[in-house]
Amino acid sequence: MNIAGIEALGIHIPRWSLDREALAQNWSAKSAPGARTVANFDEDSLTMGVEAALRALGPDPSARDGIDAVLFATTTPVFTEKQHAAVVAAALRIPADQCVDLTGSLRSGLDAVRLACGLIRGGTARHVLVIAADRRDLQPGGPHERLSGDAGAAVVVGTGPSIVSLIGQATFSDPAAGIWRSPEDRWSRVADDRFVTTELLTPWLAAAAGRACTMAGFGAEDLHAAAFAAPLARVEASVSSRLGLTVPSPSGGIDRDIGYTGVAHPFLQLALSLTDRLPGERVLIAAAGDGATALLGTVSDHDGLSEGASQMAAALRRRRELPVGMYQRMRGQLPVEPVNPSTSEMLLRREQSVGLELRGTRCRKCGRGHFPPRRICLECHTVDLMDTLELPRNGALFTHTVEHLFPVPVNELIMGVVDVGDVRVYTQVTDTAPDECGPGRPVDLVLRKLHDGGHLPHYFWKAKVVS
């Protein structure tokens, strides 16, 4: 049997960037310089995961073929009860029967990769889509809030041509309470920093990394890159020192511009580790959380090695500075105008292929495309002779307007009419400044949350102007 590897990698970094010193000043505190990423008001772990997965899969629909399982990892689930992976698979138009959520631990992203390898080894999946995304909330005003960030990541694990072959792995669990959140908590709690760093995170990561190397028959000195994902600063340095590692860590830029991104973090580190690597070089990634998980891989001869890093660089180039007040509204730290849009679970079920899967209809007789789907053709009036139309997830803005009445936590809402293939989508424009809009501007369609009417998150595809 071939060794499983990571066949594709996608990273989503939210556009908003919050200056740490500005946030600290708001609380009369001091902060290290740098910025953290902040999910837009319409983003959550589910949507960031979908966006990362779309990047990992690329525009070719055949990339979905043979994906038999979708594993979704997060510590910040949208639903306490209801599966994210099933929603994600539908949005991605992946007909996978095996959908699993992994929640509760900061290492569950890498655990999902381990489990994916197991499914493949066991013969129950050919390719597995692993998604890891987090939008973590920590004590407002505290240092952990400033050092956290929001991001999503996705990898396709399989035995086909890969970026990295996974040659070693190790995991173990520890029940100690270092970082936790109860159902009624609005943000995660962190025990004493020194205790968590020296007694938990550092030994956890060092142990998992050591075991993964041993299993693969290598020593720490044989690594060409290593990264350690941990929710507190300086852990990575102490782990490297304990292991006697001299290889550079790829995490400096992430720490400065993004922050610690929970379950997505080791994948961001992996993406950066792979740039400038040569085929055959060894890379280790480990994530701490109730113990730790480590993966050891060999870099393949693959032209997509720097793909993840360039996605991150492109996202960071488009950063937009987020005012502190807007951040606090988005995070629910300041009140926003309450809205409760009406809904119908029955309608959402009937129209699942529309709102979630972005499918319309095409007249079999005259070829006219329709979105939303229609039974009677607008062109030739033929009744009930329609094929399914899969809308592409990009298009061009036809016209737009900047709304000032519709209540949203950001300063304004943009509504746009987008030509998508030969149909049209009228939807909210997101992650876009008003002066970036104009007729003909290219847009991507991204899944975002519209509202929580009926206490149910409602998702729909929004337009995002791409420069």
């Binding site: 809205v339 849009p341 959402l348 939303p372 607008l378 016209t399 737009h400 509504m415 009228y426 409602h458």
Partner: protein, 398 residues
């Protein structure tokens, strides 16, 4: 409408405004009894009635049936029907009444349009519906001004900015509103005020928008032959046409939508002009009430109604031809901009305002001299339905 001609023999309306002390039923009674008095009839002469109210169970006590008209008027034992067709509701209610008169189903038809939008705050009125009701995901984020913001933006792209023309519409219509005792907003505005107003959607600012308003308006219809027999003053409903061209939530998904105007207005105008034998509306019409829910709407209405070429609506208002002393004064009531837009009432009110011009019943400063033929136009929903009515002095047809 075919066959015999329909006459408007009675007209009544409340002042439009914020009637915090009057109920929906009070407004219906005031408009209806005034119209019936104006026709020289009594409630007992009315043998059928239509109620135009766009939204039921929305503001307070309006129901979703004709009983909201029958109950306050004690109009029992006769057909009383509610009509709803977005912002074309009132005009469509008149159309229903007219069809019944033409078809011989009613001798004296009462049509009342009413909407009590200010029993809630403006935020909870039409805007609240967009935010909290309707399809849970399709078109979520749309607002009424947002529909027209998309158009102002595309118009700018294709023809150039309509801003100056929009300002001219606001100044013109508020000039008329200031001298119309029945208008909601009764102050003139200057261009600076209009252009400095708070932003609402895209190019549209607060003074490009009609206010949220209470009001009711009523007409009594009969045949022209009967009107002649009665020997009272009347006008003739030459045409009252309506066209639906798009859906509601899906209107902005329509690839055929050029976002430069509305197919519904173009279609309804074509039907009405054919019926009325109008070939050059700018030359033949003497007065127009058009649907200026937002100032940019009036500019594109000119084009959709055939008063100007595509892209040339701006020139028509900037030339002054649609203002005081112009060749074709438009919205001499002050329009929706000044009167406000109690949805079901507006279409009926517009027909009355045109008829009052033809009967020379307006204040001297608003009166268009020797007006004989007028047009009223209502645009509904996200532009997906429109109604165009042509009203004439009787002798013009003789």
């Amino acid at each position: 409408m075919a066959g015999s001609q329909v006459a408007i023999i009675g007209m009544g309306k409340t002042a439009f405004g914020e009637h915090f002390a009057r109920s929906y039923a009070d407004m219906v009674i005031d408009a209806a009894t005034e119209a019936i008095d104006d026709a020289g009839l009594t409630l007992d002469d009315i043998d059928a009635a239509w109620l135009g109210t766009a939204f039921s169970y929305t503001y307070s006590e309006e129901g979703n049936a004709g009983t909201s008209l029958a109950e306050p008027l004690a109009l029992w034992g006769r057909p009383v029907t509610r009509v709803a067709n977005y912002c074309a509701t009132g005009m469509d209610a008149v159309r229903q009444g007219a069809m019944a008169v033409v078809g011989g189903f009613s001798e004296y038809a009462l049509v009342v349009g009413a909407e009590k939008m200010r029993d809630v705050a403006p935020r909870a009125s039409l805007l609240g519906q967009h935010i909290e009701r309707g399809h849970p995901v399709i078109a979520k984020g749309r607002t009424a001004p947002g529909i027209f913001g998309l158009i102002a933006n595309r118009y700018t792209h294709d023809y150039g900015s309509p801003r100056e023309a929009m300002t001219a519409v606001a100044v013109k219509n508020h000039h008329y509103g200031a001298i119309n005792p029945n208008a909601h907003l009764r102050s003139a505005v200057d261009p600076g005020q209009v252009e400095r107003a708070a932003p609402v959607s895209g190019m549209i600012g607060l003074l490009d928008c009609c206010p949220t308003t209470d009001g009711a308006a009523a007409v009594v219809l009969t045949t022209v032959d009967r009107a002649r027999e009665l020997g009272i003053e009347y006008t003739v409903l030459v045409a009252c046409e309506l066209a639906a061209t798009q859906g509601y939530f899906t209107a902005q998904f329509d690839t055929g939508n050029d976002f430069l105007g509305f197919d519904s207005t173009r279609a309804a105008a074509a039907l009405a002009y054919r019926k009325a034998g109008i070939t050059d509306p700018l030359a033949e019409l003497d007065v127009v009430e058009c649907h200026d829910c937002f100032t940019v709407t009036e500019v594109i209405n000119y084009e959709d109604l055939g008063l100007a070429e595509r892209g040339a609506g701006r020139r028509l208002v900037l030339s002054g031809e649609t203002g005081p002393g112009g060749a074709l004064p438009v919205n001499t009531s002050g329009g929706l901009q000044s009167c406000g837009h109690p949805i079901g009432a507006s279409g009926v009110r517009m027909i009355i305002d045109v008829a009052e011009q033809l009967l020379a019943r307006c204040e001297p400063d608003r009166q268009v001299p020797d007006a004989e033929l007028g047009l009223a136009h209502a645009l509904g929903g996200p532009g997906s339905v429109a109604a165009v009515t042509i009203v004439s002095r009787p002798e013009r047809l003789a």
